[in-house]
Amino acid sequence: MSIKVVRTKSEFEGKITEATALVDGKDVAAWGTDSGLATVGKRQTRVDGIARVTGQARYTQDLYLPGMLHVRVLRSPYPRARVRRIETSRALAHPGVRGVLHRFNAPKAAFRGEETIFREEVRFAGDEVAAIAADSDEIAAEAIRLIDVEYELLPFVADLEEAMRDGATRLDDKGNVSESGKLDRGDTKRAFGEAKIVVEATYRTSTQLHNSLETHGAVARWDGDELTVWESTQHVFGVRAGLQAALKIPYSDIRVLCDYMGGGFGSKGGAGKYTIMAAIFARQLGKPVRCFLTRDEENLAAGNRSATYQTVKIAARGKKISAIEHLSWSNAGQGRWVADPTGPTNELYDIPNVRTRSYKVTTSLGALASFRAPGYVEGTFALDQAIDELADRMGEDPLALRRRHAARQSDPVTGLRYSLKRLLACYDIGEKEIGWQHRTSEGTRGSAPHRRRGYGMASQIWGGSGWPPAYATVHLNPDGTAVLRCGTQDIGTGTRTVLAQIAAEELGIDVGAIRVELGDTNSQYAPISAGSLTVSSVGPAVRLAAKDARMQLLDAASGLLEVGTSELRVEHGAIVSKGRRTPLGEVLKQVDNYTVIGKGSRFPNPEGLSLKTFGAHFAQVEVDVRTGEVFVDHVVAVHDIGRVINPLTATSQVEGGVIQGLGFVLSEERVVDRPTGRVVNGNLEGYKIPTIRDVPRITVRFIDDPDTKASNIGAKGLGEPPIIPLPAAIANAVANAIGVRVRTAPITRQRVLDALSLQ
């Protein structure tokens, strides 16, 4: 095979970047609709199912190495302060304490643009001040309370809207607010002037906490100069890069592993301070070291979805939307970037005049982290409600209004044609499944006199095309079994299973004959498991690796069976030649222990096309007008993501997205005490994620039309799409039910009652 340099455009969470990657060999044409596939597209239970239901699946949290030390972190109780003095003698005298790290003794370790992991000026309640390594977690937890710290308190600001104001405490020399995104299309000024109807509204969304059930954490062990780190991560190669930057050691000395991991939802994108602490302690103390965040720490210092303040001005002329202006401010906390809630406004609907601005606001709180469709959930909450508000004023059906702006087959931002767009088909299916004909503009009576029923819907756009680089290898053993090795991760989405299906399809062996090994930097590179890009990036490489192995196998079989290669094929683990089946094990038995190794790369996306995923959610709700409680009766989720490789796991993923969206729109809200700047509900008691009682009937539908221009597997990503439109669909259904709109998420009982009382 030969190596080739390719340039590729990629879209990650709404941002387009160009990259250069290497590919190996040649790509193949996509499987078409009529390819007669045996495994791909079929319902397949998880290949790691037994490990996960028996407790055998080993998560990073389950790793207890002999002699391992445990780390606990002392965090600042103040939102902003200077650490003037740290006295550790009492802590170090505590039996079982082995070491302490803080800003006065820790080695330099570059971390996200800073030189150290312990700041002189702590910038949020929860910022790292010191860490203790001890013989047990219990001892470490006791010892951090024996550290005495002298703080010089500094002024802070924790609230988004307070930080935006002129005269607010400045947390950054350049001010708290900075522009993070802008787009101008057409002439909004003129369009608003000429419009017959103009609607303006302000929307707010609260900070959502990931609450992955396995908290962030790592275990580090040195063997001489070699560092092995086990980490609960969405990106083993990202962790490796973080360790290299912090410790200044070569890649050849670092191995990062992640076999099973308990959820990430965007927050586990690279090395954390806990990773670096574990590595430093392990080196200093000569023992394996584990550092895991507690639930409270997880909710202070491991990321969140930014709260937003958004204003939308939208206008109609005739039967169509003529202009939209969307301004958005996101609470980045101490984050150095921010997601863009105006992305959907820029891309989703065909509106001629658009003006959007997105601003990052720095506050004295923990940094944001990507959270399943960052920006797009918050932005769609505002955009799709504004469209409904406009439709109401126009006296139009909101679905009919959207149809007029959803048919366009090219990307309004880049002007490029879509490889495939079936948004209107999503509308058709959703309309029928929810029973949209029962919707009236006034809402209807619910199942009891004090209950009102309403219907709402919203649309979804997201990337999810995937891109290079991504690589995989397939080792075909002499007994006819195979090992698929890839540097990606299975964060719970079913990656292992889907990749096994792709490899099985191309190899001609059964899924059960393939072992999938992921999450190891000793494999070739694979990208972060985020942005709905795992299957779409890695899947095509896996297919090519399997194909390479199959071609080599056929060459070998041709020699061994003395039949021309063109007369041979592989089917269900056997070489088939002129109606005769010889199991692979028998063919390869004739040679002494030869392992066929197939390699595959992800090739670039097609030039001149825009690759997106689309979808629509429809909701039927009832609202108790006495208590303000929202009851979701039925959600219909329709998605256009190209080929569905595994309908079983894909359906689960959509249900999961819907349920997480329900949390966002109905119950999840981080609460910060303004006078002290502290998070008061950083636990699963006070922070309400959905329970099994909160789950409505969910109908999942896929268009399942392979996007044959996208890649050789025709599949795009599905991780993010199913959370994006749900909150807006629910908000629209609530407004339809009660005739008044709640423009703040989550739509709590109090907010519903407040809205009703203003009616």
Binding site: T45, R46, D48, G49, I50, R52, V53, T54, G55, Q56, A57, R58, Y59, Q61, D62, Y64, L74, P77, H94, E138, E142, A143, R145, L146, V149, H210, N211, S212, L213, E214, T215, Y260, M261, G262, G263, T294, R295, I491, G492, G494, L648, T651, S652, Q653, E655, G656, G657, V658, I659, Q660, N683, L684, E685, I689, P690, T691, I692, R693, V695, I698
Partner: protein, 166 residues
């Protein structure tokens, strides 16, 4: 920061109980939870630590047949009782029907809450061989799942009950 006095208590004691059918004796301080004892002393890491304060159910095990949060149960309180964990469900004959149903219905994604969900369902089937969907909701309403596998968990529990009755 509040200054706390480190724990000084009675010394560790021997506690004997049954884990997955085998008798064990552990030497633990009186404040050690059953969860820590299972995970750190006995090497049974199926039960997970998620909240460590009785709000999520990921550490659920059976104590004399009833589901308990093992992070809220002291090891010393288990003396003479039978503890069942997810590791003890399957046998040489194969998986427990609830485990099989969880795979068949895809009742998990990341799988971190799964041992707890399964133990709550097994506990339910021990008490009630013909549960309704409402019974299942009640049985697992104390088990949080962040991936949102809930609809499939209900389907799996009902299907396992049906198979067990046959």
């Amino acid at each position: 920061m509040p200054k706390a006095v480190p724990f000084i208590g009675p010394a560790a004691v021997d506690v004997a109980f049954e884990v997955n059918g085998d008798g064990v004796t552990v030497h633990v301080p009186p404040h050690r939870t059953l969860l820590d004892t299972l995970r750190e002393t006995l090497g049974l890491t199926g039960a997970k630590r998620v909240c460590d304060e009785g709000t999520c159910g990921a550490c659920t095990v059976l104590l004399d047949g009833d589901p308990v949060y093992s992070c809220m149960t002291l090891a010393v309180a288990c003396a003479g009782q039978a503890v069942e964990t997810v590791e003890g469900l399957s046998s040489e004959q194969g998986l427990h029907p609830v485990q099989e149903a969880f795979i068949e219905h895809d009742a998990f994604q990341c799988g971190f809450c799964t041992p707890g969900q399964i133990m709550s369902c097994v506990g339910l089937l021990k008490r009630n061989s013909s549960p309704t969907a409402e019974d299942v909701l009640r049985a697992v309403s104390g088990n949080l799942c962040r991936c949102g596998a809930y609809p499939n968990i209900v389907a799996a529990a009902l299907s396992a009950a049906k198979k067990t009755r046959r």
